[in-house]
Symmetry: C2
Subunit: 131 residues, 2 copies
DNA sequence: CCGCATCCTTAGCGATACTG
DNA sequence: CAGTATCGCTAAGGATGCGG
């Protein structure tokens, strides 16, 4: 009989895991910007404030639900700010905060890597699938 | 009666969306590296080849299923290579390809941004939630 | 114009058990 | 040691319709 059972080992691993994840902000960040529309919204706001309706046009194909949800999350995280003009009908403008803007270089770096290297990835994938 | 119905407009948006997505490799990339374990595996392989079992220990908390799945996807995308030594028991080593290594600076950039800025994000979130 | 609420379908992921 | 197969849960996300 081992000093620790498999279940205990799993528990320990889970604790290590939690600790690792907790001290790994990168994962948290990827959880954010990895979600389907975040990068597109950030890029959509890159060249100045935009209205909700403008964004939904700029980011063709986004459902109104996901746009709102994405914007809410970004606002909550302090990456964008939301300004409501109480006219009739209402007007809502979104804008990158300083924190949000500081993320743009990263998003652009990702985009650049992707633009120059994704073709290779596609090629590798086709070759792999051909086997 | 409008020249185009709402349904038609949605269809057009969907086509635009497809075109946009198709020509937007960054999204594809984020779909990859955004998944839960990819960045951790890349970092796990950053300082040299590793055996499957090594990786599963380095990346505490990853299930064996997800580790295999992640490794397979990365291999398929040409980001890592897989070397099998047909001993008994088998030995499998994984290693970053050149393409995979070229992704490391990006992963590290993400990690650095996260380490310096996630506290601000957390703070923003708490403040937002306090309302 | 903006966004919430509801329903429903799929994809991600973990747990477990089994093979060479 | 490395990998596969199955089950079941949960979260993501799209469609639609209502309300300020």
């Amino acid at each position: 009989m081992p000093t620790r059972t498999a279940a205990q080992l799993r528990e320990e691993a889970a604790r290590d895991y939690d600790a690792f994840m907790a001290e790994c902000p990168a994962r948290h960040l990827l959880d954010r910007i990895g979600t389907k529309w975040v990068s597109l919204v950030l890029l959509g706001l890159a060249d100045g404030p935009q209205r909700d309706s403008d964004l939904s046009r700029r980011i063709a194909g986004v459902s109104q639900k996901m746009l709102t949800q994405t914007l809410r999350n970004l606002e909550r995280d302090g990456l964008i700010s939301r300004a409501v003009t109480p006219s009739v009908p209402v007007r809502v403008d979104y804008e990158l905060t300083a924190l949000g803007e500081s993320l743009l270089p990263l998003v652009n770096a990702i985009r650049e890597w992707a633009e120059s290297n994704m073709p290779k990835v596609e090629a590798a994938r086709e070759q792999y699938d051909a086997l």
